[in-house]
């Protein structure tokens, strides 16, 4: 690929070399590039060589030219642009759009996907996870004893650290806030190799069970809540109600596997307890030992899994039931977003190509118009070199103006992207405008400008001056070759624009499918918020239940509120926690599903009604289903169909955990499925507990979500909700206080972001293609004014002339459409992983795209065709 580009580059720059020596230097440079490549040089060296060759070629051409002469040319060129402001405006803004959009998107791709993570020698970092293939759990946590075995036995890693993530309440100012937090061990900081900005991270001694309360802050939290006070080290803050010493502040953007934690607490694992293999809650990050390779570590990890039973005498880790996996940390962080960004990069690349095609077209048309000017100047004695210099300067001035505009546009785009993007695109905040790509796109643009800018001088070179002058210069006709070239440019831009339009159509269809997903509840008119009830203030379940009930009662008494409930998890974006669950009298067969439920939900008795979830069979919870009542449960439809197909689920019994002293729960109702793991994911199985019974059997819900249904605007209820909570306990941080529809919006944020970007690029492409087609058609009409005039003089009707012009324009467009459809058919497969319930060959998009493009082409040809009918035969013939 790079050699192909270099070869193209050599052909372009060798045009600068005086024609007598051109072939010789081109061949010599080809040979030298071949030698450099064969010497094992990298892309950077090759690009350096190519740029040097360009500079040498320019030296050959401009040998002996003085700066003074150049300045005159620049002034002349700028004046020329001002004389034709329409042309200049279209050409410069087209180039600016192409350069700007590409630079912005490539900067994002480069910063997010290509640049290594911001850890020293980050390519040696891997994430280690586990899975339970028989239950369908991938990217699962690792238990502490598993971690200790990995850490002690796998030689390919110099060190392995561990972490888990959660939410914590931090008392920063007068109101505590709820933030993302991570518990990490001291080894993890060593593995990552990042030095704190201030202070230090945990010592081994602090990372022991019962160790001191210490915390390391993120740069962002330190700035936001402590005003960047460098005296923060040694001060104390409240974390989850505990007084904790601040010992360090990490550098800006420091993060572990996109956990977005704002504080890090010591994990304090008990290294003497090797028993509980089944308690999985850690993710591991390992660093390759010096000399170790990824492949080697992978093999060693597999051998460790295979030999685990033999080595440890415990079959918990096994290749078929519970293997461990590793993936390079960079891949883990950016792997998921990569396809989407690559699609965007491809899309802006198309926009740049269309922009270049347009500028080429404009310059070609203009060259034709300047035929006479060139001929006259040549006849007056301007040498070939002089004319070349003039047009070259004009091309460069034009392209550089486009590049300046493009840079401004790119800076704006990048800001906009960062502001508009959903929070889940990793590393986006680190992205800055990329100088290399700006240079690259500018070179392409300048190359286009210069190459096509030189077109007028071809007449001089072919020595056709006499004929040009003889023609009197009233008109100039383009050669068949030039007409073909222009048609080819229109065909290409139509095809490229169509591919983008089809792609955008697919994304839009996918987005509307996502929008149409039934979440399983009525999200309109719901307000929601989350509280964390700390153990210090709410030690017993009675305290927690009492508090919830009081808050709910007051919420229900607000004007407009029709219902209010509390629950442990907030749909539709909950983390899946696979819960072992015993089904009474369950017959285990080869094909039976594992006894495990994806989501537990502990709710107050009126949850189902408040959310507007459908009761399919049996009954809803009732107030009497409390701690003193018979233990009951609701299940969702998916659970009932999965475990009791064809049977009546009412009266069936199940219980959390396998065995144990807790009584079975009796299923009293089946409710509709609610989306829990994202709108684009199957709902999974769900088991509902009544919250008083849940607490009574030892379940612990410190995180409580509230939902309130109101007949008015839920946003207006927010201040009242905040007041009600803080009237009862002013130390509680309230998080996620927002209408449920906003929560739904967040679940679709990434899809919306990608769809709107792709649609914007497709729109831009359509606009550019329309401008291009219009330019070419309009020019063709000018060129054929005489012929059309004669036709009209001979009695051709206006409508026939109109049709003639229109059909010629459309002929070209239709070839472009055919090429575009073929291209889209081949390329939309790349979108497959981004689409939700839409086939990559979706007929609707493949029909709508071409129709749209046809309409654009008709519109672009219509005006020139109309103008053709207004040609006055007398004027045209008189000009002869």
């Amino acid at each position: 690929m790079i050699l192909g580009l270099l070869s193209a580059w050599l052909h372009v720059v060798s045009l600068l070399v005086p024609s007598g020596e051109r072939a010789r230097w081109r061949d010599e440079w080809h040979a030298d590039i071949g030698d450099v490549e064969a010497s094992g040089a990298g892309t950077r060296e090759l690009i350096g060589l190519a740029l040097g060759i360009g500079s040498a070629a320019a030296t050959f051409r401009f040998e002996g030219w003085t700066m003074d002469g150049w300045m005159k040319e620049v002034v002349h060129a700028v004046r020329g642009l001002f004389r034709r402001p329409g042309f200049a405006l279209v050409a410069i803004s087209t180039l600016g759009l192409g350069i700007g959009a590409n630079t912005a998107i490539f900067s994002v791709v480069n910063g997010v996907v290509l640049q290594p993570l911001q850890y020293p020698e980050s390519e040696g970092l891997v994430l280690i996870t586990s899975s339970f293939p028989t239950m369908g759990f991938t990217d699962f946590w690792v238990s502490p004893p598993e971690y200790m075995q990995v850490s002690e036995n796998i030689r390919s890693f110099s060190q392995v650290g561990a972490f888990n993530t959660f939410q914590a309440s931090v008392g920063a100012d007068d109101q505590p806030v709820r933030i993302d937090a991570a518990a990490v061990n001291w080894q993890l900081f060593e593995v990552l190799g990042v030095t704190p900005l201030l202070g230090r991270y945990f010592t081994e001694a602090e990372d022991q069970p019962g160790g001191p309360n210490v915390v390391v802050l993120s740069h962002e939290l330190w700035q936001r809540s402590f005003g960047g006070d460098t005296g923060i080290i040694g001060r104390t803050i409240e974390v989850n109600g505990q007084t904790t010493d601040v010992i360090g502040v990490m550098p800006e953007h420091f993060d572990i596997d996109e956990s977005q934690a704002e504080i890090w607490l010591p994990l304090q694992l008990d290294w003497t307890n090797r028993a509980n293999f089944g308690s999985h809650f850690l993710f591991l990050v390992g660093r390759l030992a010096p000399g170790a390779t990824l492949a080697g570590a992978e093999t060693e990890l597999q051998q460790f899994v295979n030999g685990f039973q033999e080595m440890i005498g415990d079959g918990h880790i096994a290749p078929d039931t519970h293997p461990l996996h590793m993936v390079q940390l960079q891949e883990e962080v950016v792997g998921e977003i990569r396809p989407a960004l690559m699609v965007l990069l491809g899309a802006v690349g198309f926009v740049l190509l269309i922009a270049c095609a347009n500028v080429a077209n404009l310059l070609l048309a203009r060259a034709q118009d300047r035929h006479k000017e060139v001929s006259v100047r040549a006849a007056m004695g301007a040498g070939h070199g002089r004319l070349l210099r003039q047009f070259l300067t004009e091309g460069v001035v034009l392209s550089l103006s486009g590049a300046v505009l493009g840079t401004l546009f790119a800076m704006g785009c990048l800001r906009l992207l960062q502001a508009a993007s959903p929070g889940d695109i990793p590393r986006l905040s680190e992205v800055s405008l990329d100088g290399t790509v700006l240079l690259f796109t500018t070179l392409i643009a300048v190359g286009t400008g210069v190459f096509f800018g030189l077109a007028p001088t071809r007449h001089v070179a072919t020595d056709n001056l006499a004929r040009s002058l003889r023609d009197g210069g009233t008109r100039s006709t383009s050669s068949a070759g030039q007409r073909r070239l222009r048609s080819l440019l229109v065909v290409s831009e139509t095809a490229l624009a169509l591919i983008l339009a089809v792609g955008a159509g697919l994304m839009l269809r996918s987005f509307s499918q996502l929008n149409a997903v039934e979440p399983g509840f009525e999200s309109d008119g719901l307000l929601t918020f989350q509280l964390f009830l700390p153990g210090a203030s709410y030690p017993d379940s009675e305290d927690r239940l009492e508090f919830q009930e009081r808050v709910l009662e007051e919420l229900r008494s607000q004007p407009g509120v029709t219902a209010a409930a509390a629950m442990s998890g907030l749909p539709p974006m909950r983390r899946m926690v696979a819960n072992d669950t015993e089904f009474e009298n369950f017959v285990v067969t080869e094909t039976s599903p594992p006894q495990n439920v994806d989501h537990y939900q502990a709710v107050t008795h009126d949850y189902v009604e408040t959310m507007g979830i459908e009761v399919v069979e049996g009954r809803d919870f009732e107030p009497t289903d409390d701690a003193t009542g018979v233990p009951v449960a609701l299940v969702n439809r998916t659970l009932a169909e999965k475990y009791w197909p064809g049977e009546n689920p009412i009266g069936k019994r199940l219980r959390p955990g396998m065995g144990g002293p807790n009584p079975f729960l009796e299923v009293v109702g089946v409710v509709g499925d609610v989306k829990n793991s994202g709108l684009d994911v199957e709902p999974g199985t769900e088991l509902y507990f009544h919250n008083t019974q849940w607490e009574a059997r030892g379940g612990l819900s410190r995180n409580v979500n509230f939902v309130i249904r109101t007949s008015g605007d839920p946003a207006e209820l927010a201040p009242a909700a905040r007041r009600i909570v803080w009237d009862r306990d002013a130390t509680l941080p309230i998080s996620g206080l927002q209408p449920m529809n906003d929560v739904m919006g967040e679940a679709m944020a990434r899809a919306r972001f990608l769809t709107s970007l792709l649609a914007a690029f497709a729109g831009l492409a359509l606009l550019l293609a329309a401008v291009g087609t219009y330019g070419v058609m309009s020019y063709a009409v000018t060129q054929r004014a005489r012929e059309l005039g004669i036709r009209m003089a001979m009695g051709a009707e206006a409508s026939r002339v109109h049709k003639l012009v229109l059909s010629e324009g459309l002929k070209v467009a239709i070839i472009g459409l055919a090429v575009g459809i073929a291209g889209a058919w081949g390329l939309t497969g790349l979108l497959e992983s981004l689409l939700f319930e839409v086939d990559a060959r979706d007929p609707m998009s493949f029909v709508a795209g071409p129709i749209l493009l046809t309409l654009v082409a008709v519109a672009a040809c219509w005006i020139p065709a109309h103008r053709a009918t207004r040609v006055d035969p007398v004027t045209v013939l008189r000009e002869e």
Binding site: D27, E28, H30, A38, L51
Partner: protein, 111 residues
Amino acid sequence: MSPIRLTHATALILQALSSGSRHGFQIMEVTGLPSGTVYPVLRRLEREEAVASEWEDAAEASAAGRRQRRVYGLTESGQLVAARARERLANTQRVLSDGELGQLGTSEAGS
């Protein structure tokens, strides 16, 4: 023939050619000069007839599985210029290491 402009780059390239370098890539590698400097100097030297060039044997290139290289060599007058250049480089070397300039260089490097 006008006297040859003996810039630092020209001197280095002449030296490279007289010590056996034969084509563009080799000259760049030996002198450490960028391509944007090497080619214009070669072209100038060739015009000034200090250097002559020709294509290498096609059979040799295809046997080595590469494109034909342009091979450069010093003409007789080129050899004279190269000798002058060598002299000049040696002078530079001497001034830098022995003279006051040399001491200046060391004391700066040491500070």
